[in-house]
């Protein structure tokens, strides 16, 4: 039993160690903005707590945001968004997990276009999406990621309020930008 425990701990340690040799970039402070552009009213929501992982070695992209951190500037609208539309108590996160079609060879100071493909999940519904974005190696141990994509609310079974003082667009433009230091 002791041996087993030891092996487990050893295993964990070993891999923890192994981790840092990779090409992993991590952040917890990415920025996410969505723009709702309806015919009569336009507003944005923003979170500066986007979590992201870009693993160039294993070609893995993983992003998520706690939807409770998104603010639109009007408290009541935020509460309605959480309670009635996104249902954040049940589905607290928006997530994207995927990979790049091809991993770019990043040179410092050069902006590279990347195409990511993966699963986007919000409101309990998962859908495969393709996103065009840009990766820039801004420093030896830091990359910057910028991407935008649109989300059709009906694809994710998010109701659009019919009578509301703010009109909500069916198509939401989502922009993410993050600086990810090397892990």
């Amino acid at each position: 039993m002791k041996n087993l425990l030891f092996s487990i701990i050893f295993t964990c340690f070993f891999f923890q160690e192994n981790f840092s040799f990779g090409q992993e970039y991590l952040t917890k402070e990415g920025k996410l903005v969505f723009l709702s552009k309806a015919s009569l009213s336009e507003f944005t929501g923003e979170s500066k707590q986007l979590n992201g992982l870009v693993d160039l070695e294993n070609n893995l992209l993983d992003f998520y945001v706690d939807l409770n951190t998104i603010q639109t500037g009007i408290g009541l609208r935020d509460r309605h968004m959480r309670e009635n539309y996104l249902e954040t108590k049940k589905y607290p996160f928006a997530e994207f997990t995927g990979k790049m079609r091809s991993v770019p060879d990043l040179q410092e100071g050069q902006k590279m276009e990347v195409n990511a493909i993966g699963l986007f999940k919000i409101h309990g519904v998962e859908k495969e999406i393709e996103v065009k974005g840009y990766l820039t190696k801004i420093k030896a141990d830091q990359i910057q990621l910028e991407a935008n994509f649109s989300v059709l609310l009906s694809d994710y079974k998010i109701d659009i309020p019919k009578v509301m003082f703010y009109e909500l667009a069916e198509e939401q433009e989502v922009t993410i930008s993050a600086i990810l230091p090397k892990k």
Binding site: G52, G75, L76, P161, V163
Partner: protein, 291 residues
């Protein structure tokens, strides 16, 4: 053998895990619950629902005549409404001050609400707790009473209540509000039924959400220190166009907090009155985005 197999498996899995996704964690486990009630008002009672800093809440409330007038009186709508306007402004997320005016006895009220506790989603704080205090003045013209025209002090009345509420689930919220009202001089000329100075009652408010934007509402306010009839109200809350519409049947025609306890109630059923509140929140100045 088994052991080593297990270790090998573990190896395998942990190597998978090491390039797998980030662990999803909430930024704030103790996040406050949202929308225990639809609005700062719920039928006749104030709720624990706070206003955001620098927002103004406006409510216009009405009650009509009793239903027993039948169709001839359009179920009380012909009798003219008792109306109360109220404005409440939030100086912080916890404290707001309000002013209201009820048409019956032309009473002006000044009141404050303070939110001490807010229920959190992880139940570290299981209830929301708020306090309300108010003072009012009856401004009716009693000059025909020549001698006994009540003075300012005699026209004043006070209200105090504590609101303790819990959102039990997405659908059900319940609030218990011990309330008191004090009339300096419960003059029989006032449109109240009671003749005591002090009125104690226990308000109970319930919300049952039926769709994302509508709820059934219930209110029962048993009196604790007098023989006046208890207040009963049943209704529906609808969120639409940024307004919260509250339609209900209630036994009291009064809308002011003090008068609600002293004003008397009809018999539930035929003496129900149709009531109607419109709530609206105005944001003054856009809040800055923060982290």
């Amino acid at each position: 053998m088994k052991k080593s197999l297990f270790v090998a498996l573990l190896f395998f899995f942990s190597s998978q895990i090491s390039h797998a996704q980030l662990v999803r964690t909430l930024v704030n486990e103790s996040q406050e619950v949202d929308l225990t009630f639809h609005a700062p008002r719920h039928i006749n009672l104030l709720t624990v629902e706070p206003l955001d800093k620098k927002t103004l809440h406006f409510a216009i409330m009405h009650t009509f005549g009793t239903l027993d007038g039948g169709f001839r009186n359009l179920y009380g709508l012909d009798n003219g409404a008792v109306i109360q306007f109220s404005f409440e402004y939030a100086f912080s997320d916890k404290f707001s001050l309000g002013a209201s005016r009820q048409s019956r006895d032309k009473i002006y009220n000044l009141y404050g609400r303070y939110h001490l506790l807010k229920q959190t989603q992880d139940n570290k704080i299981p209830i929301s707790l708020s306090f309300m205090g108010g003072a009012g003045i009856n401004t009716s013209d009693y000059s025909f009473l020549a001698e006994s025209n009540p003075n300012f002090a005699e026209r004043s009345s006070f209200a105090f209540q504590m609101m303790a509420a819990r959102k039990f689930s997405d659908k059900i919220s319940i609030q218990i509000s011990p309330m008191m009202a004090y009339f300096v001089d419960p003059n029989p000329i006032f449109l109240i039924e009671g003749d005591q100075n002090l009125y104690l009652a226990l308000g109970l408010s319930g919300k049952y959400k039926i769709t994302g934007k509508s709820s059934l509402t219930l209110q029962w306010i048993p009196n604790l220190n007098n023989d006046l009839r208890n207040n009963l109200g049943l209704g529906i809350d609808l969120e639409a166009g940024g307004h919260v519409f509250q339609m209900y049947f209630v036994t009291s025609q009064m809308l002011n907090e003090q008068y609600l306890l002293a004003g008397g109630n009809g018999v539930p059923g035929e003496q129900f009155r149709l009531g109607f509140n419109v709530n609206r929140v105005f944001a003054t100045g856009r809040k800055k985005q923060s982290n």
